[in-house]
């Protein structure tokens, strides 16, 4: 077994994904997947590392102020956000908006989260309790692809992506949040291939940049994809002592694309009525996903490229290097108030 470094997580070469199928280490075919064409090695993936730091107390409400998400007349109503994560707990903060739960690891029917990462991430994007998330009226579709330790295999993540590709119309999934990833770059990365297929189907994919910075080229996969929206933390260096992944990618693409707060973000625990603070780019990504849900409620016809371009136009520079900040800090007020832009891609 070959061990590789991990960015958001620790990664191991586990088994092999053959063309359009995923085999276990024993050679058993686990999935038949149309979403990928490549022949690549599978890797173990995990939820983004999260660090608790009592020095700074940044509530989700404060994070919303930082990205100018105050008094926005939208809540993401009717917009489905799919999360590939550790699961979710059915707590009052989510009301009846958990419209679908699929456990790709254990096949359990009931809604659960045996780690807590997925519940926290979902709360930042879609929570509607004491701490309101970015889009407190959005619908939640949770694909459990990581185990109780916050780890899993890339093949399970890709199987989750395949499920989204098969079911996105049924649940109006417009956004996929991936606060997960792996630091080991491989050629013909199947994670990148899979998320780009979703993007081309009209689904906005938001990924964490990973916490493996500050070295150049430390963006996690699938955030290395040129198509998807890769999110880094705006306040990691001074507040939590962790570092967002930085670009460029191996193809010389500037990454991350955008920043959002990621230090000591308060969101849901697994127990109703309790909250906790976590830090990392895992927390930054759902801030962007929630903001996009607000935009798509207002302008449902926007394509993923339109959304990404509008994020570019509305972001505020923090005067950091391009491969640290991308286009800069999310500004929801500007994003929501700007006229819709429909991009015609050109070569």
């Amino acid at each position: 077994m070959h061990r590789l470094n991990y960015s958001l997580t620790s990664v191991r070469m586990m088994d092999v994904i053959l063309k359009r199928s995923a085999k276990t280490a024993e050679g058993r075919i686990k999935y038949r997947l149309d979403i990928i064409d490549s022949v690549v090695a599978d890797r173990q993936t995990a939820a983004g590392a999260s660090y608790d730091n009592p020095m700074v107390y940044t509530q989700i409400n404060n994070a919303k102020k930082a990205v100018r998400c105050v008094d926005i007349p939208y809540g993401g109503k009717g917009v489905g956000i799919a999360f590939l994560d550790t699961g979710i707990c059915r707590i009052p903060d989510f009301g009846n908006r958990i419209v679908c739960f699929r456990d790709l690891l254990n096949g359990k029917k009931g809604v659960y989260d045996d780690n807590g990462h997925g519940t926290h991430v979902s709360g930042i994007a879609s929570g509607g309790g004491y701490y309101k998330g970015m889009a407190p009226q959005s619908d939640i579709i949770m694909l459990k692809v990581l185990n109780s330790s916050g780890q899993g295999n890339a093949s399970d993540v890709i199987a989750g992506i395949q499920w989204i590709a098969n079911n996105y119309k049924k649940y109006n999934i417009r956004i996929v949040n991936m606060s997960i990833g792996t630091s080991s770059p491989v050629n013909n990365d199947p994670l990148v291939e899979a998320v780009e297929k979703l993007w081309d189907m009209g689904i906005v994919v938001v990924t964490a940049a990973g916490n493996n910075g500050p070295s150049p080229g430390s963006i996690s996969s699938p955030g290395t994809s040129r198509k998807v929206i890769t999110v880094a933390s705006s306040d990691d260096e001074k507040d939590s002592g962790i570092f967002s992944g930085r670009g460029p990618t191996r193809e010389c693409i500037v990454k991350p694309d955008i920043l959002a707060p990621g230090s000591n973000i308060t969101s849901c625990r697994r127990t109703a009525g309790t909250y906790r603070r976590l830090s990392g780019t895992s927390m930054s990504a759902p801030i962007i996903s929630g903001a996009i849900a607000l935009l798509l409620e207002k302008e449902p016809k926007l394509s993923p490229d339109d959304v990404k371009y509008m994020l570019k136009l509305s972001s505020d520079t923090l005067n950091m290097p391009k491969n640290r900040q991308g286009w800069g800090m999310l500004n929801v007020e500007k994003l929501i108030n700007m006229e819709a832009v429909y991009v015609r891609n050109k070569g």
Partner: protein, 46 residues
């Protein structure tokens, strides 16, 4: 509808290219080898 002109807009997506990031190859052809040898000879003679 007015046409948008922006270097971030590519056929395959919206992204910026890092122009300071240069890709290189680690190979030389026969001509390169002759030039390299001549340069080395020149430096030795000098």
């Amino acid at each position: 509808m007015s046409e948008i002109r922006d270097r971030s807009i590519h056929e395959d997506g919206i992204y910026d290219i890092d122009k300071s990031c240069r890709m290189g190859i680690f190979a030389m052809d026969a001509e390169d080898r002759v030039m390299f040898a001549l340069m080395a000879l020149f430096l030795i003679v000098k």
